[in-house]
Amino acid sequence: MASSYTPEVSGSGFRARVQKLGGYLAGMVMPNIGAIIAWGLITALFIPVGWLPNESLAELVGPMITYLLPILIGYTGGRMVHGQRGAVVGATATMGVIVGADVPMFLGAMIIAPLTAYVLKLFDNAIEGKIRPGFEMLVDNFSAGIVGAGFAILGKLGIGPVVNTLTNAAGDGVDWLLDHSLMPLVSILVEPAKVLFLNNAINHGVFSPLGVQQVAESGKSILFMIESNPGPGLGLLLAYFFFGPKSLRPTTPAAMIIHFFGGIHEIYFPYVLMKPRLILAMMAGGMAGVATFMITGAGTVASPAPGSIFAFFAVTAKGSHVGMILGVIIAAAVTFGVASLLLGFGKLKSDQEPDETPDETADDPESSRKENA
């Protein structure tokens, strides 16, 4: 695959594959975040413990989480594999896992929809060019119908119950972490994965499906807040602003605005990747934030996506705002403190320039490979 344009990539094949799988999972959820937020807002407003309890409007909550959101995810997952036809059979098959389970079938939709679309794609490829003229529509419609029906049945009888068990087990795992106050340790895994651009995969591929289940049960979830807390990134950028390499300091105020208010966390990843030891500061801040959320019992009703402080205010559950604000501030303060220490408060001479200056890296493929490895 190496051509004159693209020097062979070394050492990053595994990371690229993990990113790709994660990107696939996140790609099914992310286009539908708008619908998830709509559901979260309706839940926050109208359930009995919400802001404006309303029995009639609260009837929206159940069908939206049970049917609308998994079917949207299944539709999107099918479309990623095989376009519009894949989307249609993906949504159809998703209906099978929904009916075959008694928990919200995000995970089931993410498995069965791409699988169904893939089977249809195989069929379409196999018969391509072999259909008599005039029979294309008949074959197209009935192949999709038969595949869709078959996988809906399979979903109901086979996949739904299995994923039901898996989803419950994952939910029990989360409860266990919460019961034993171990939730903050999750940040040790999340923060490094995040800056390796697995942020969406973790947040939308793992935490969102588990989080919605918690919201459906108890009206809020801490899981949405683990990856998306803008506190640690803000703390890091502040540390760079005061103590970072002088050449980078002027870029940080704009980065802070984009990160903290715009919610584009990617903007701070390079500042960590430049000085990998700063990942310790991210872990410390992330853990402090999660611990604060856990102690105060804070939760959100949907994924604050993008992870902007505005999105946090919008989806934080009633009664959780103080805990949310504390968690963000404490995470920022802890990250700032640890990162400042690791940056030697700007006094380390060797640190006045980035370990790899952006200019060199861009000019020299060797150093960008190092970066990738």
Binding site: Y5, I264, P358
Partner: protein, 102 residues
């Protein structure tokens, strides 16, 4: 190492993981900078880089994936999202019609 001339770039694609966040931000910045040149600037997920892209810009952390998806495209990896020299060189090459080494 290969060279592409700025004048040959008709479509520049900014790729990020989901094609919804950081790529949109960088694409809107580049669109402003390249407004007069008539170059189309698009943002996409790194898994679905379009076939008609002339040059692909993405963060170096995603460059390996971009190369898997679009092995025959010139890919410009960058480090920081604001004012990265690698991105500035692409803009300059397009504006002045000069050669760009990728």
């Amino acid at each position: 190492m290969a060279t592409i001339n700025g004048k040959d770039i008709r479509k520049l694609v900014v790729a990020c993981d989901a094609g919804m966040g950081s790529s949109v931000m960088l694409a809107s910045t580049l669109r402003k900078q390249l407004g007069k040149s008539g170059v189309a600037v698009e943002h996409t997920p790194v898994n679905s880089i379009p076939a008609d892209a002339d040059v692909v810009v993405c963060h170096s952390g995603l460059a390996a994936r971009a190369r898997l998806v679009a092995p025959d495209k010139p890919i410009v990896p960058f480090q920081i999202f604001l004012g990265d020299p690698a991105v500035n060189r692409v803009v300059k090459a397009i504006q002045q019609g000069t050669d760009l080494n990728v």
